[in-house]
Symmetry: C2
Subunit: 148 residues, 2 copies
Amino acid sequence: MPFANTEIPGRFQTLLAERGIRMTGQRRAILNVIETAKKHLDAGQILRRARKLDASIDRSTVYRTLGLLKRHGLIDELDLMHLEGEAHYYERKPDRGHIHLACLRCGKIIEFDSDLFESLKAQMEKECGYRIAVARLEVGGYCSKCRT
Amino acid sequence: MPFANTEIPGRFQTLLAERGIRMTGQRRAILNVIETAKKHLDAGQILRRARKLDASIDRSTVYRTLGLLKRHGLIDELDLMHLEGEAHYYERKPDRGHIHLACLRCGKIIEFDSDLFESLKAQMEKECGYRIAVARLEVGGYCSKCRT
DNA sequence: ATTCTGTTGCAACTCTGTTGCAACAACCCG
DNA sequence: CGGGTTGTTGCAACAGAGTTGCAACAGAAT
């Protein structure tokens, strides 16, 4: 299950409205796609799904909306080890940064959560004097099924 | 210092020869560039530097050689938080996976090494049943100077 | 030297993502 | 509710990274 199921439908609309951001039909469609996605989607997939809700949506609008959501910290951009092509994948920003583990053979993605990861971030902040804004840990490997 | 200085010049040539991979002038030039680099380079920068050693080298040869080195696990491919553009950066594979911390304002990259990171990888292998091949932890934040 | 086979340069292409601009539509205010 | 301001959209053209097919070429082994 790629996403926490503590999600309130329409949360994005509320959060954007709170910040005085104009809500349009196209944005609603794109937000809807991202909010209801059951797997990680790239920009092209988001476009295709959004077009089912509003056929006129343009590629550039998807990119601009993804940029908006990124700037407002509502979504995270992932590479998922570039399993296919160079596209980026998007997901709702989880409360707590989690790790993506991709199987390099079958492409299965599992998400992983660990206190150790949090401690590691704390250690980096302390020892390097950086204030961490994003920490992306992406792992490629072979899942148990593919390793027989 | 972006790279361990325990590096033996010509190590790549040796390792590729051991695997029966043909050594050519172009590959030697590209390997040389990567082995002597003092910072992370992207494909375009590698091309420009390699051309100083052999002016006829083509872009595609650089990409094919980088692919070869990646497949043989001699180099790692990094995003460095896509600080500028979408290009990838390359570095010699370190013995021990290290972390890249990028300052989102000044672009400074520092490398970080931690036992916690090793424990985290071990924990993931155990709990997820994956055999980890690559673990890429890239962090964006603000360094002490940029945070005044 | 000859041959075999992997490698290269070239040019054309694909794909992701970006931008300038004129038309348009949210939202606010009266 | 209607009109104006300002942010947003579609479009089309572009930019940049990376890939591919192919003919010519060059290692390496005989």
